[in-house]
Amino acid sequence: MDVMDFEDVLAAYEPVMGLEVHVELNTVSKMFCGCSTAFGAEPNTQVCPICLGLPGSLPVINGKAVESAIRIGLALNCQIASWCRMARKNYFYPDMPKDYQISQYDEPIAFDGYLDVEVDGETFRVDVERAHMEEDTGKSLHVGGATGRIQGADYSLLDYNRAGVPLIEIVTRPITGAGEKAPQVARAYVAALREILRGLDVSDVRMEQGSLRCDANVSLMPRGAAVFGTRTETKNVNSLRSVEGAVRYEMCRQGAVLSEGGTVRQETRHWNEAEGFTTPGRSKETAEDYRYFPEPDLVPIAPDAAWVEELRATLPEPPAERLARVTKEWGFTDLEMRDVLGAGAIGVIDQTVAAGATPQAARKWWLGELVRRANEAGVELAEVGMTPAQVAELQRLVEGGTINDKLARQVIDGVLAGEGDPEQVVATRGLSVVSDEGALSAAVEAAIAANPGVADKVRAGKVQAAGALIGAVMKEMKGQADAARVRELVLEKLS
């Protein structure tokens, strides 16, 4: 596939993007029935007559999902519809057993919002056209063919556990004027949106598990043109890195097509995460006819002003305001703050401080040991597997002298391995610092006896030689001793 150099694309064309983000809500039950939404269950064990669309079944809306939808809308500065309906989107595709998906059409619950995102110190306002409620579809497994994709498959297998899980689709207006920063703006938007959703506690927002999914619409228009070019829609963009990569790739691919006098086909494209390019999927030359109509089985949703204001009062602090507050409260240096921002650690440090740790201690754990673990596991910091409350508890154990920093790292091992809170890990792994003075004293005497030469040097005043003795004691105690106390004991005994 021909691609044009990114700089050359920018010289000739202006990119236009539209981002559609699907968010699975973290309700315990589905949108219209009581089936569990837990991830990873055996196929077709979280289905019932309603989500399978069996005759005679009737859906009922999950009230918590509507609350979450309204809170998301409010957090994105949207208007909330005072009256709206669900709609049937009709299509023949086996990912929905009903042959339709319950969605919203021209009456979204939230509309006309925005989200400000920052790239390299420059703020871009991304306009949010709408956020609407719908249900997720089932999962298809395509059998036969070389690629596991739908093309060339012999047949397909369907698991409907996911069918009916509450989904919010958030659609931006066309994003123009980002130029060379378009790929970064796309990434920053999805990152900021994810941070907001996490703060609202409405979704797990785990891109790798598909609870947050992004489709990127990209088109190019010649510089100075007033009419948008033909767009492609890239699906399967399942990490922040991919959002940036997919936009950049499509710009370069479309640039090559256009500069050679070709036309961009309006189509769905598939992002190949491993190789970093897109391949054509379904052609959209014939517009789909979904024959939307108001869902007759569900009465309208009419959030009154009192309810909306009640929900508005539950919103967390907006990210920009939080940043201003913590910058003032934490007193970090500019360099420290830049590292914190780069690691995406504002939220977790803020929560760790709220749980009782000092800002410096919270920063130490998150930007040291935990960033390293997150990188090793290839996950975001907030998904590393240790909560801010657990980090605060770990720090309390260190400050209280129960463990030292070295043991703390083993405690982190235990927490990440699912062994419970830090105190539990200390108890079950037997990790606390030995404070039994008798045992320590015996170990110090044994070390002195085993290293008479070193002991003589210390006696002669070479205090730095004591390090070898302290090391021997710490080794004997398997690291579970307070090194400062060991040093005191060594010097005491040799004075």
Binding site: T45, C48, P49, G63, P94, S156, L157, D289
Partner: protein, 101 residues
Amino acid sequence: MSSAPLTSADVARLASLARIELTPQELEQFAPQLDVILESVTSVAELAGADVEPTSHALPLTNVFRADEVRPSFTAAQALAGAPAAEDNRFSVPRILDEEA
């Protein structure tokens, strides 16, 4: 009613959307029949004045919600009991797209 009568091309499009195979004779035959039905339904519009909103629901209710609580689901065997074909506890369906799609 004022709109143009249904043509067999309209019926062919509807049939394709509904995945119903019709012969050319059937297309010809159904066009005027469907027209009669449409006209009968449209006559309702003559009764409704400009002040009457289109009705989508017969019940004057809004905000009918359920609590977010898990209720028992089917077992996979129950779910698949009516499936024409199944494999590995999943519904099996014929090829979705042709090779060139």
